[in-house]
């Protein structure tokens, strides 16, 4: 049936325009901008088989013909409504309900076609809506009355309704008018087959979705993130959930013509998932998600317009997936690459600080008699291979914390200060644990070993204030204060060396 060229649908297009005008009469007049296109006989994508893709691209970019305008407007509307509702699905971990719902509408679409044997957007909308609601009701009844788990119930409803839909469609296609109706475009989507009637339905749906979500934003947010608290506040959570499923069915059904039954769920999930990687705030997620939905919708329509007989839905989904992959890799806070980079630089910093601490300890072991230490002594203290220690010394030299000559290493003033700070953090924390938490002195080292790298300046000052004396640690070694001259030089505050100054180890 997919072999039926789309060009065949030019004949029913005239009838479709008629039904569109009927709908106009029903008061949905917001698409008045496009009224001029009603009379123009729109060229279908099938007529364009002979043109080159550059011309096609030009036609798309200049929005010169009504098909393109309808396709663009439709995909934009779809991006908004799917993006908004998809965000709720993703944060509520109900992503696969969208999948089930979108497959379950197929019998409704077929029945909508049967209503008067032509592509009447309103009939299809109502049929699909009823089927979608029946599907989601079946899922909830199944999980309540049987031992079946939700995933099984979703899968069953999805596939059984879809099977029923395919049966009805195959019966419908035997009818003389069946093959010309364009019902196939509902499976994989064809934005170029959108007519004015479709645009009106989509516009109305988007308005309803945006309006209801705007009116009940606080309640929807509460019900989604903390249903228990919402119940305590005597909100009718069940009704809000039903309303959400209803809106979801609205959005799925209105997006069918452009994306197709099979991939609608992807347009719900992928932009919202991308948005959740980009921000932590729900209202920003809603905005991101609808923007991403619109971008992927438009680029999908554009790509499928370039060739002939290319379905729209898969291209939209691929654009959305590409954006998702970019966000997964490069999102500033959640992305894999930035996170990997942050972890790596932190690891490098901790290694560096450990080496500084080891140098300090070697210096301390001979009572600060000499300014320099040998690489061999450092290697013994760090318990690492010689090559690894030499690499660490090179990295210290590179950031000017140390100087190396031959087999001897010396700390620069800034390196010395940093080493003091780390050792000070370590010993202060040990002292705090033995003093305030009553932990035995031989149990505190491992904990301090970890926390010395992350104690911030505020925490160090708090420790200084709480501890009665801060001259020796629990093991009897002196706690270094920052050398007066250096502290003055580096912290820029005169006399800061009079009292012990600590600061965190952050680089």
């Amino acid at each position: 049936m997919s072999a039926a060229p789309l060009g065949d649908s030019t004949q029913p297009f005239g009838r479709r325009t008629g039904s569109g005008q009927r709908l106009m009469g029903m008061g949905l007049r917001w698409a008045v901008l496009f009224t001029s296109a009603f009379t123009a006989q729109a060229a279908k994508i099938g007529d364009l088989t002979q043109t080159r893709w550059t011309e096609q691209a030009w036609r798309f970019v200049t929005l010169s013909d009504p098909v393109v305008r309808y396709a663009c407007l439709g995909t934009l509307l779809l991006g908004i409504s799917c993006g908004l509702l998809g965000s709720f699905l993703v944060v509520r971990r109900m992503a696969l309900l969208g999948d089930a719902l979108s497959h379950a509408v197929l019998p409704g679409v077929a029945l909508g076609f049967l209503w008067n044997l032509e592509k009447d957007p309103l009939a299809i909308f109502i049929g699909a809506l009823l089927a979608g609601l029946a599907g989601s009701a079946t899922v909830s009844i199944l999980t309540r009355t049987t031992r079946l788990k939700e995933d099984t119930a979703l899968g069953m409803v999805l596939a059984s309704f879809f099977g029923l839909g395919l049966c009805l469609m195959s019966m419908f296609q035997r009818l003389p008018t069946g093959n010309k109706s364009g019902i196939e475009t509902f499976l994989f989507g064809q934005a170029a087959a959108l007519g004015p009637g479709d645009i009106q339905v989509m516009g109305a749906v988007t308005l309803v979705v945006v309006g209801l979500l705007g009116l009940g934003y606080k309640e929807f947010l509460l019900v989604s993130f903390d249903p228990g608290f919402a119940r305590v506040l005597a909100l009718p959570t069940v009704w809000f959930e039903r309303l959400l499923v209803m809106l979801l069915a609205f959005a799925v059904v209105s997006a069918l013509q452009a994306v197709g039954v099979v991939l609608v769920s992807a347009m719900l999930i992928i932009p919202a998932a991308t948005a959740s990687l980009l921000t932590d705030r729900f209202h920003r997620m809603l905005v991101w998600s609808s923007c991403l939905g619109m971008i992927s919708g438009l680029s999908g329509a554009f790509l499928s317009f370039l060739g002939t007989r290319l379905p729209t839905g898969p291209f939209m989904v691929l654009s959305a997936s590409l954006l998702f992959a970019l966000a997964l890799l490069f999102s500033p806070r959640q992305g894999i690459v930035p996170r990997w980079y942050r972890q790596r630089s932190q690891r490098v910093r901790i290694e560096r600080e450990n080496t500084l601490k080891a140098i300090y300890q070697v210096l301390e072991s001979d009572g600060f008699a000499s300014e320099t230490i040998t690489v061999a002594a450092l290697t013994a203290r760090r318990r690492l291979a010689l090559a690894a220690v030499e690499a660490e010394i090179r990295s210290l030299v590179a950031v000017e914390f140390a100087t190396a000559s031959g087999d001897r290493v010396a700390l620069t003033p800034s390196g010395w200060q940093r080493a003091c700070a780390i050792v000070r953090n370590h010993r202060l924390w040990e002292l705090y644990l033995t003093h305030a938490a009553q932990i035995a002195p031989d149990h505190v080292h491992d904990d301090a070993e970890k926390i010395e790298h992350v104690l911030g300046e505020a925490m160090v000052r708090e420790l200084e204030r709480r501890l009665p004396r801060i001259d020796t640690d629990p093991h009897g070694r002196p706690i270094p204060s920052l050398p007066a001259s250096m502290a003055g030089a580096h912290l820029g505050a005169g006399g800061a060396g009079d009292r012990p100054v600590g600061y965190g180890g952050r680089s």
């Binding site: 997919s2 059984s160 029923l164 959740s276």
Partner: protein, 329 residues
């Protein structure tokens, strides 16, 4: 032509078993084989709450098959199975990657992974439509009606049947062998992965093996019933059986019964309504599920409602005052 053809009992109930045995009977046999093969593995998917991973894999084998076609230029079963297994592996890897390296949960990861791969498959098929011997319709509907038309394989004077039928028989045999060999491991890892790990069973290996087995089953069935209806045949028989019994072996037996019933009734339904045979099989399977849902002795809606109204013997036996009376003679 009307939507619903006139009902003729002879055409619907007798002819498929007599004159049309070569086509309709064969189609019923093929759907039965698909139903059993899918149902066996589907039982384990349901137990592991991986029904929707089955859904994901049945969608995402499509690009694997399409790429295998484009590379080899033929419909060799080897290339197809290999392509599908790679695709299944990729889906599994993508789901793990997304759910492990981001804040998204598994449901969103499943949705993203399979719809992306499915979209790639559809795009490949649409772009290389003239090179790939698959169309978008076949992806959804399967080519059940085409199977009887394929030239049968002959072996030394014996007519063995068309190639897809033989492939399905082969996959069923392999599935049965796998099931019998690894029954204990599958059962333990499904019910209690912790215990399985303690016993030295490699839970991860069994899981990956199950994925590959699923990919093989899905590829073989895909050709007959299409990508989306495979999920119905994966879940429906097992779900029906789980409402009838608690034990695994009877469950597998009920799975087979359900597959046979839905194959036969689906075939009659498709003859009666003259509609897509794969769709009709799924509708019939769903119908049998509904029957069991209503009437199952232990789980059914009607027996339970009846028991509640009468106050069941079981609940009366458990009631506190009866127990007290029994304990103090």
């Amino acid at each position: 032509m009307t939507l619903i053809p006139e009902f003729q009992a002879h055409r619907v109930f007798v002819e498929p078993w007599t004159t049309e045995l070569g086509s309709h009977g064969l189609m019923a046999l093929v759907t039965f084989l698909v139903g059993v093969t899918c149902g066996l593995i589907g039982n384990f998917l349901i137990l592991r709450r991986m029904a929707l991973v089955g859904d994901a894999i049945s969608h995402s084998v499509l690009p694997g098959i399409a790429v295998a076609f484009l590379i080899t230029g033929s419909r060799g079963i080897g290339a197809m199975v290999l392509g599908a297994m790679v695709a299944a592996w990729l889906t599994h890897g993508l789901i793990e990657l997304i759910s492990r390296h981001s804040r998204l949960k598994q449901d969103a990861a499943i949705g993203i992974a399979f719809s992306t791969l499915f979209a790639i498959g559809v795009v490949l098929i649409a772009i290389f439509a003239d090179k790939v011997d698959l169309d978008q319709d076949c992806v959804l509907n399967g080519e059940l009606p085409m199977i009887p038309l394929e030239p049968p394989v002959r072996l030394g004077g014996w007519v063995l049947g068309p190639p897809p039928l033989l492939r399905l028989v082969g996959v069923l045999v392999v599935s049965l062998v796998l099931l019998v060999t690894f029954y204990k491991e599958l059962l333990i890892t499904s019910f209690d992965p912790g215990l399985a790990a303690c016993l030295g069973i490699r839970v991860g290996a069994i899981h990956h093996g199950l994925m590959l087995w699923l990919a093989m089953v899905v590829v073989a069935s895909f050709e007959a019933v299409g990508a989306i209806l495979v999920i119905a045949l994966l879940i429906l028989p097992g779900a029906t059986a789980s409402l009838l019994t608690d034990r695994m072996v009877p469950r597998l037996a009920w799975t087979t019964v359900h597959a046979a019933l839905s194959a036969i009734s689906g075939m009659h339904l498709s003859v009666a309504l003259d509609c897509s045979p794969a769709g009709a099989t799924v509708v019939a399977g769903a119908g049998w599920f509904c029957v069991v849902w209503l009437l199952s002795p232990t789980e059914g809606l009607i027996p339970r409602a009846w028991c509640l109204r009468r106050g069941s013997v079981d609940s009366r036996l458990r009631s506190p005052e009866l127990r007290q009376r029994n304990e103090s003679p």
